[in-house]
């Protein structure tokens, strides 16, 4: 349970960090919060040649809001998200989901961008970014590029990051007016990774669903947008009495598409069942909150 040998660099500028990552030729790893990477090193699941500690780089810890979006830098910790009044007031899905991430000491160090880069299918942040139609901002010594959240995830613990690249921030797109949101999750204990979870954004105008976003956590190889369900919900009447039946149908359809893996925490069937329950709860709560926002 001790980390293997590696070289350690703690650059104090982004340019230096990108230079070191570039020279490492794919055998370098960014060390952000260390809350996933250090366990992997201690358990010898990861064995990089160079660790590039980005914690001493200024300017990566910003949470910035514009009319269109919310930008979160590479050193914004889970705790910073929970402490942000702007996030709590105007990005409630991100706030609510972060209350499910780990425990205080881990939230003090672990970062949003680290979670997105790590891309654990049971982690909250990759799914929240996908639900908000988010973007990953990537830099390398060669320049910058942006990748939509949906294309960034390439399977379990795998992303679109190329050797020499790092994530400098993520950007969430602001949903339209009249949007209600909800995140729900099932785990055995507070702060554990999700066995199943769901994130929903519903935009309702004059009793009609104008836009729906629905993502399932803990089922697939990464964030799983239920696009068929989103399409099915769009244009439907979301009246108080009608919704439970509709949401049950949607949950049933979503369940039919899932084939989650079995592990020590849950059988495949139990996971699929939970996914249906989570979908129904998330949609119900999101619909209620569209009324609160009006």
């Amino acid at each position: 349970m001790k980390a293997p040998w590696f070289d350690y660099q703690a650059p104090t500028s982004l340019a230096d960090a990108l230079a070191v990552l570039g020279q490492a030729e794919g055998d370098g790893r960014v060390l952000a919060g260390g809350q996933s990477l250090m366990p992997m090193l201690n358990m010898r699941i990861a064995d990089p040649a160079v660790l590039v500690d980005i914690n001493r780089i200024p300017g990566l810890d910003g949470i910035e809001e514009t009319d269109a979006s919310l930008s979160v830098g590479a050193l914004v910790r889970h705790a910073d998200i929970l402490n942000s009044d702007a996030v709590r007031a105007r990005w409630p899905l991100l706030h609510e989901a972060t209350t499910y991430v780990a425990h205080p000491a881990i939230r003090n160090r672990g970062t949003v961008c680290g979670s997105v880069s790590h891309n654990d299918p049971a982690a909250e942040h990759p799914s929240i970014l996908a639900t908000y139609d988010g973007t990953v901002v990537i830099a390398s010594a060669e320049g910058r590029r942006e990748v939509p959240a949906g294309e960034f995830s390439q399977g379990m613990l795998t992303t679109a990051l190329e050797p020499g690249e790092m994530v400098v921030g993520v950007r969430y797109a602001r949903p339209p007016e009249g949007t209600g949101s909800a995140f729900v999750e099932f785990a055995r204990r507070l702060g554990d990774f999700a066995i199943a979870g769901a994130a929903a954004l519903l935009t309702v105008r004059d009793g009609v669903c104008e836009r729906a976003r629905l993502t399932i956590v803990g089922m697939g190889e990464g964030p799983l947008r239920a696009t068929a369900a989103e399409d099915a919900l769009t244009g439907t009447k979301l009246e108080p009495g009608a919704a439970p039946g509709l949401f049950a149908d949607v949950a049933h359809e979503v369940k039919a598409t899932l084939d989650p893996a079995e592990d020590v925490h849950a059988s495949s069937g139990f996971r699929r069942h939970l996914a249906g329950v989570m979908v129904q709860r998330a949609l119900t709560a999101a619909l209620m909150r569209t009324r609160e926002t009006r």
Binding site: A3, W5, F6, A102, I106, R189
Partner: protein, 161 residues
């Protein structure tokens, strides 16, 4: 590239300069280099909370932090909780008085975490206490006594003993 590095940091108010291998965890540094063995390692992958220390004013897993990352930093461990007269801190006293300690293996991590909770929230509800301490595992005392101890410490600090 060097695999050893000289670091200078403050631990419990005292400054130390030592040379460490870069892969040494802060937990192993505290225990093996400074012989501050009150910080315990249970799992070494972040789940048990026994190794929790305060780093630059925020609780952190010392098993998931490299010693070199604490270079220039300020660390408080269980050994640093006594006051200048050598008296236990109020939260330590409350743990003792409420039987929140049995074997004591988990206690250093619980204390660091509980002190951080009470600093930010002097009057936490039982649910808030449970949530805040959810990342610390105790295998023997049972959590009820620990929660009672935190409630007692909070009440004492508010002058309602």
């Amino acid at each position: 590239m060097a695999r050893e590095q000289s670091i200078t940091l403050t631990v419990n108010g005292r400054e130390y300069t030592r040379t460490v291998t870069v892969r040494t965890s802060l937990a192993d540094f505290l225990r093996d280099h400074l012989h501050l063995t009150g910080t315990h390692t249970g799992c070494e992958h972040g789940v048990c909370g026994a190794c929790t220390v305060s780093l630059n004013g925020r609780s952190a897993r010392s098993c998931l932090t490299l010693a070199v990352q604490a270079d220039g930093g300020d660390v408080v461990t269980i050994e640093g909780l006594r006051d200048d007269e050598g008296e236990w801190s109020p939260v330590q006293k409350a743990f003792f008085e409420n039987f929140a300690v049995q074997c004591g293996f988990c206690t250093p991590g619980f204390l660091i975490t509980a002190i951080e909770l009470l600093r930010g929230n002097p009057d936490p509800s039982e649910e808030e206490i449970r949530e805040y301490l959810s990342g610390n595992i105790c295998r023997c005392s049972g959590y009820q006594a620990i929660i009672k101890a935190v409630q007692a410490a909070a009440a004492a600090a508010r002058g309602q003993e």
